[in-house]
Amino acid sequence: MSAGTPRALASSGQKPIQDIRHPLSAEESALSRSPDVLHPGGAGERDLILPNGTPVDTSSPTSSSSLLNRLQLDDDLDGETRDLFVTVEDPKKHVSTMETYITYRVCTKTTRTEFDLPEYSLRRRYQDFDWLRNKLEESQPTHLIPPLPEKFVMKGVVDRFSEEFVETRRKALDKFLKRVADHPVLSFNEHFNAFLSAKDLNKRQGLALLTKMGESVKYVTGGYKVRARPVEFAAMGDYLDLFTQKLGTIDRIAQRIIKEQSEFLMELREYGPVYSSWSSFEEDLHDPLEGVSGCVSNCSSALEELTEDMSEDFLPVLREYVLYIESMKNVLKKRDQVQAEYETKLEAVVFREDKKTSVPADVEKCQDRVECFNADLKADWDRWENNKRQDFRQLLTGMSDKNIQYYEKCLAAWESLIPLLQDKQEAKGETN
């Protein structure tokens, strides 16, 4: 995939900055209300608590003003003014007494002040990427986190250390980091920073946190039924369901084509040599027949390349999107839960006290959560749609290109054969 093509930082759709409902803008008004009793401890100016109990990553970069600045920057940014570049490269095998595994070099170049140095280069293994993604999901549950390539591979079926598998994985990991780096909120996540810069990832702390969080999530997700899912989120859900179906179909078709092409290739590999053995007992026809044999052989190689490319570049991207969609549906479910909690609490309050004019703080907090979640999700959705469009445009034009290259190689082979085939004839014509 394209390590060099700079992708414009995805902004929140085509709307002007003023119309974008910033996730934290709702929080501004919330501050004027009574303090949140459930607040576990002031981590900053923000009181934003999420359903699972964790405070939103509220270190300085997420203060409203700097975020707004950054959003403005988003809209102005094209490839040249991006300030964070990451790549995943150079896979290497490590053999130890306990295990064998692959590490990848993660290179970072940045002008951001959140980083101590302008450049980093360190090695990470899949486990580390997995850790990062989990941390991102926990700490930014209202955002769509890009997917990782599949974790588990059947030991007997796939060779985890084959060049093709490792390269496919590297590309997917590279894409993952780039998507995070391009995200206006996720790229400022402290875990992401640590991933890119810290010598050792203190993962144990993460694990402990996970358990506590796991409990809270369990507490929340259950028992609440959403009343009226807003139209746009319902549409998202429906779209994702249909889209997954289509991707599945395309995956099956692509696999079928690869299979048919492989079988065609097998026949070609038998076909070409027959011309060669024919040429061995011909005189005049020796060169033409050898020529045809060579041509068929060239076409076979070209076809082999096409099939390999499709397996390595096309299918993995499709599958990645299916995973992406899975995680997006989960985020949508969470959003539903947050909304459901709010609706239930609101209902209870209204039902209880019809005379009271002020809404209790916890219900307000719920409302804020809902609005915040909706805004984050909406912004990410638009970004995702844009990326999806670019990704699929690239994927499908790439597929077309590969096919064009295949035919061009074959064309060149056959065209160069014509003069060889006609050669003797002209010579004969002259002697006649």
Partner: protein
């Protein structure tokens, strides 16, 4: 086919007298007929329309209606069998295959299938043109009446007694015998015929399998057309690009039918030479048979001469039952010996005549056959080279179409 006519005429000086100079021949149409066969049962069969027209008439600009008559495949077979026994020293052009072989799955193996009938029509025309452009075959009267006499041809050809000769010829060709002094050139030619047959069979088999696979590759792409269409329905900006790309995928899938139909023509050209190889082998076998018969006659003559010598000198050099019995049961009388000697003399005379005759036949055969084999070699090299060129052109056309379709699809995708 017309090109081959022209080329054949240009290439061979002896074609000056070929029939094609005087007459245009074509197999214009094919029709289904039903009728009662030899055992009085209803059968359906196909007849082919042979049209002939004098060459001069067309060039004068009057363009008269051609003469025509209908023939069925079995009559072509009879003609060919007649030619085979009448000209055993010639490589007789083959007929298109009786039954469809080397078919890939989409192609019908049914003799009534219209595509098969059409390809057969072309093959039969090709056969007639080949015969008509051959320096020796084109002058045959039976061939001429096959083209011009609708009724009565059957009787005429049967009167030649070719059927019986055809049966004994087959038997002889399949018999096993060993020639003591095989002509090296013919032995090599027979070997070449064997190898050519084997390699072309293999080629046709693999090609048919490859055609099947190629068909699959193209057709599955049609599924992209459908899914892109469905997908475009749930997209906003991406929809149009996807939809039109889908149409190109459908076009791509559909294009394989024409591609493979054209390739079938190439397969037919190869098949002709597959069967030609058989005709070549037959000539070589016939030569072997002629040689063998000469050797047998010579051998017989030698043994008779030896017997005469023994009888004359009284020495028995070779073992013979007569010799043994005469030893056991006593010598013969001088009268008996005289009679025997006289008989042997006559036999030796006859034997010498026979050997002379057979020798002459052999020499004649070798001379004529070798001329035709040389002619055949040149024709084969020319035709197969042409076939390979047109095959390469087919592949080029297929590649260009592929590039075009994918470029079109790419354009649509880039507008997504």
């Amino acid at each position: 086919m017309r090109e081959r006519e022209r080329d054949a005429e240009q290439g061979d000086a002896r074609n000056r007298t070929s029939l094609l100079k005087k007459m245009e021949i074509s197999v214009a149409e094919a029709e289904k007929r039903t009728g009662k066969n030899a055992v009085n049962m209803q059968e359906t069969y196909t007849v082919y329309l042979i049209e002939t027209r004098p060459v001069d008439a067309a060039s004068e600009g009057t363009n008269p209606v051609p003469d025509s008559l209908w023939r069925r495949y079995s009559e072509f077979e009879q003609l060919r069998n007649y030619l085979l026994v009448t000209y055993p020293f010639l490589v007789v052009p083959p007929l298109p295959e009786k039954r469809a072989e080397f078919v890939w799955h989409k192609l019908s193996a049914d003799n009534m299938d219209p595509d098969f009938v059409e390809r057969r029509r072309v093959g039969l025309e090709n056969f007639l043109l080949r015969v008509a452009s051959h320096p020796d075959l084109s002058t045959d009267k039976i061939f001429y009446s096959f083209l011009t006499e609708e009724n009565g041809w059957k009787e005429t050809v049967f009167e030649t007694g070719f059927q019986a000769k055809a049966d004994s010829r087959l038997k002889a060709l399949n018999a096993t015998f060993r020639v003591k002094n095989p002509d090296k050139r013919f032995a090599e030619m027979k070997h070449y015929g064997d190898e050519l047959q084997s390699v072309i069979s293999q080629l046709l088999r693999v090609r048919a399998r490859a055609a099947d696979r190629l068909y699959g590759v193209y057709k599955v792409h049609g599924n992209y057309g459908r899914v892109f269409s469905e997908w475009s329905a749930i997209e906003k900006e991406m929809g149009d690009g996807l939809q039109s790309a889908g149409h190109h995928m459908d076009a791509y899938a559909a294009s394989v039918d024409d591609i493979l139909e054209e390739e079938e023509h190439y397969a037919d050209q190869l098949k002709e030479y597959l069967f030609y190889a058989d005709a070549l082998r037959a000539v070589c076998r016939k030569h072997e048979l002629t040689q063998y018969e000469l050797e047998m006659a010579a051998q017989d003559l030698t043994s008779k001469k030896q017997q005469r010598e023994e009888l004359a000198t009284g020495t028995i050099r070779t073992f013979s039952l007569k010799g043994m019995t005469s030893k056991l049961f006593g010598q013969e009388t001088p009268e008996q010996r005289e009679a025997k000697l006289k008989m042997l003399e006559t036999q030796i005379e006859e034997g010498e005549e026979l050997v002379k005759e057979r020798n002459g036949e052999c020499e004649e055969f070798v001379k004529s056959a070798w001329v035709d084999i040389e002619r055949f070699k040149e024709q084969k090299d020319h035709d197969l080279r042409e076939a390979l060129i047109s095959y390469a052109i087919m592949q080029i056309s297929m590649c260009k179409k592929g590039i075009q379709v994918w470029n079109n699809a790419k354009e649509c995708f880039s507008k997504m």
